[in-house]
């Protein structure tokens, strides 16, 4: 059986005239109906509410629906088996407020309900909300949605703000959220923006964050992984994993790295590239990837733990000039790592969007999804997830319609002429300049030599 790859430009036909940088993408597939997919990108609505990309046919076609109340500074959405949840850093008014959102059906056009709000204050706010959720399968709590919103709480600046806002029953009438701080060590000012969460069906929940540490610059950092073995809803959440050296909460995967705040790569800023994924079958297997500065270059690293985070491998993959890593693991234990890499030399840089696949981390199969111009900002993250053995992902890239930019093919919904490499308005009469669009992809099947990598 061969690999099947589908790549779709998500901008619908009716928005063919748009020239926005629809960057900083995220994605979620409904766990009980993988034809239902929600995606997010910084696509301005021009109105009071924020847009969500929705597909009801497995990503073949997309609509954009204004269902997130308010405008956004950062947002994403995630499906449980019962609802779609969202985290939105809403503005204006000032200060920025982090809303946690819910809808039981995103396709009917109703605004998502705000089920929790964490207002900013004191010059700070809940930075980079990142929602993850899972419907509990077994008792106790069977059928309840556990909702986790990672964020960096800057309202306590200076202080260690890496946090998760946790709810044990997201579909309840009045969901109650509890804010849990993750960082047990002294910080130099604050933690990094990214908090990433991996949920296993057993109730084992992992989270990774950047702990910014003295005595270096403000962005000298540890990558820390914390774990809770009971859904994170007990009295002392996320204290089940201690570091083997200092015996404090949270295993340090790496210490003293330079996260590259302000360094930049291609057209993008850098400084908080982090991802985590747990094996959906073996809860003790967890992967982490991050970016730091090595020899002056932004460099991606991927590592794995097979003992629930107690010990970590060395780098199983290292990629120079890469950012926006996104990890996911299939039920066949294949790990996928999505990232974008700058190739070439300025001013002729190109973004290459790669999906690397491996089972043990020893051998990697590299799939090039796109090779596009470096023109504008693509955002601070992208996303990858699995349903069974299939990988679903999203990335932002230049939208010039050129088949050579997409080695595995691409389908555009917006009006485009692949012969002249021009975008057109919906009537086909006016040429529209290129910009950044969100691209969905799905990978199914396996390479014939995949088993060569069997552990």
């Amino acid at each position: 059986m061969g690999v099947k790859i589908k790549v779709v430009n998500m901008v619908p036909l009716s928005r063919s005239s748009e020239t926005n940088d629809d960057s900083e993408t995220n994605l979620s597939v409904n766990p009980i109906n993988k034809r239902q997919i929600a995606g997010t990108a910084f696509t301005p609505s021009g109105g009071p509410n924020t847009l969500v990309y929705l597909s009801k046919n497995g990503g073949d076609t997309w609509t954009v629906n204004a269902i997130v109340p308010g405008q956004t500074g950062d947002y994403n959405t995630k499906f449980s088996s019962r609802a779609l949840y969202g985290g939105n850093l809403r503005w204006p008014p000032f200060p920025l407020t982090m809303d946690v959102l819910r809808t039981k059906n995103p396709f009917i056009g109703l605004l998502m309900a705000v089920i929790d709000a964490r207002p900013g204050g004191g010059g700070g706010f809940f930075d980079q909300p990142w929602v993850e959720t899972r419907t509990v399968g077994k008792k106790p709590g069977a059928g309840k949605d556990h909702v986790y919103v990672g964020a960096n709480d800057l309202t306590i600046f200076p202080g260690a703000g890496a946090s998760i806002d946790i709810c044990a029953n997201g579909t309840g009438g009045a969901p109650v959220f509890k804010l849990v701080r993750l960082d047990a060590r002294p910080v130099l000012g604050q933690d990094g923006p990214s908090v990433r969460i991996g949920i296993h069906r057993s109730g084992k929940v992992y989270a990774a964050f950047f702990g910014w540490r003295p005595p270096g610059g403000r962005t000298t950092s540890d990558v820390v992984v914390v774990r809770d073995d009971h859904w994170g809803i007990g009295a002392t959440p996320f204290k089940d994993l201690l570091d083997s050296v200092d015996l404090k909460r949270g295993s340090r995967v790496v210490t003293g790295i330079n996260v590259g705040w302000g360094v930049g790569l291609g057209s993008d800023r850098t400084g908080s590239d982090l991802t985590l994924a747990v094996d959906p079958v073996r809860a003790s297997v967890v992967w982490v990837a991050w970016c730091d500065v090595q020899g002056g270059a932004i460099t991606l690293h991927a590592r794995r733990s097979t003992d629930s985070g107690k010990t970590w491998s060395g780098d199983l993959l290292t990629v120079p000039n890469a950012k926006n890593p996104a990890l996911a693991i299939g039920t066949d234990h294949r790990v996928g790592l999505l990232y974008q890499q700058v190739v070439g030399t300025s001013p002729n840089w190109r973004w290459e969007e790669h999906l690397q696949l491996s089972r043990s981390g020893a051998n990697w199969h590299d799939i090039l999804l796109a090779k596009t111009a470096v023109k504008s900002w693509t955002g601070d993250y992208s996303y990858l997830e699995t349903r069974g053995r299939e990988f679903f992902g999203i990335f932002a890239a230049d939208n010039t319609p050129n088949h050579t930019n997409f080695p595995h093919g691409v389908h555009y919904q917006r009006k485009a002429d692949f012969t002249t490499h021009k975008l057109l308005d919906v009537t086909g009469a006016t040429v529209i300049p290129p910009s950044i669009d969100p691209f969905f992809f799905k990978l199914s099947g396996r390479r014939d030599d995949d088993e060569d990598d069997e552990e």
């Binding site: 000032f94 705040w261 400084g271 006016t430």
Partner: protein
């Protein structure tokens, strides 16, 4: 043509993201595949666009789906109206949610055009009303912010514009000094705060200033976060006129 009118509570011209004149083509219908047809939906052909995002291109002649604000009074096929609407669904076609509509008459067309033309003035008047200090001045220096600001991709990355005051047009401060020589204006340098005015040395004009205590800004710093909070000198007459109202 019907003279029936459906109104929403808010000012529809300001609240609507899309204002257009259209003729009803089909009742209980939808031309966007993801929106099932049914009561409260119509398909209308756009005759003229009065307000729309450029992202939508030229809508004239296109049919779009409208979810009416109320099901009664019912609209009729062939009826022409001016619709005030907000974003709803973008797919193969556009579906919008109506805030209100009224009959399209030559008088109504002129009235809507006039209200739209006045929209920036209404907004400016609102910002002037809420300002604590309105001055004419010139930026003499750009300085680093004294605030210990957290690092975030969403942070404003404050800078300070030291503004020499040439004249005070409005002050709500109780203990009003004669005329302050200069004021410190914090402004966000981050592109993420793009709508806020960005200042450079030598920039001169009219500054509409206020304090924002919820942002944790010390009281000796003013802010100007709305695009209308900085006006060119050529707007002086307009600002003075609005101050008198």
């Amino acid at each position: 043509m019907s003279s029936r009118t459906v109104k929403s509570a808010a000012n529809p011209v300001d609240a609507a993201t899309l204002i257009f004149k259209a003729t009803v083509a089909r009742i209980n219908a939808s031309n966007e595949p993801s929106v099932p047809p049914g009561p409260g939906l119509i398909v209308a052909r756009v005759d003229a666009v009065l307000k729309a995002s450029p992202d939508l291109g030229n809508l004239v002649g296109q049919e779009i789906t409208i979810q009416l604000a109320t099901k009664r009074p019912a609209m009729e096929r062939g009826e022409q109206a001016i619709f005030y609407a907000t974003d709803w669904v973008y797919g193969k076609r556009i579906a919008v949610q109506e805030l209100s509509h009224h009959a399209a008459t030559p008088a109504a067309d002129k009235q809507v055009a006039r209200v739209l033309d006045e929209q920036p003035i209404r907004h400016l008047a609102s910002r002037i009303r809420g300002a604590e200090l309105v001055i004419v001045g010139v930026v003499e220096a750009i300085k680093p912010s004294p605030l210990d600001e957290p690092l975030s991709f969403n942070a404003p990355q404050w800078k300070v514009a030291s503004v020499r005051v040439e004249s005070v047009l409005k002050s709500t401060q109780r203990r009003q000094p004669s005329i302050p020589n200069s004021v410190n204006v914090l402004f966000p340098s981050s592109d993420d705060w793009a709508p806020a005015p960005k200042f450079t040395k030598g920039r001169s004009g009219i500054f509409l200033l206020r304090h924002e205590p919820k942002l944790g800004i010390p009281p000796d710093f003013f802010l100007a976060l709305d695009p209308a909070d900085f006006q060119p000198r050529s707007a002086l007459g307009r600002v003075q006129s609005l101050l008198k109202k």
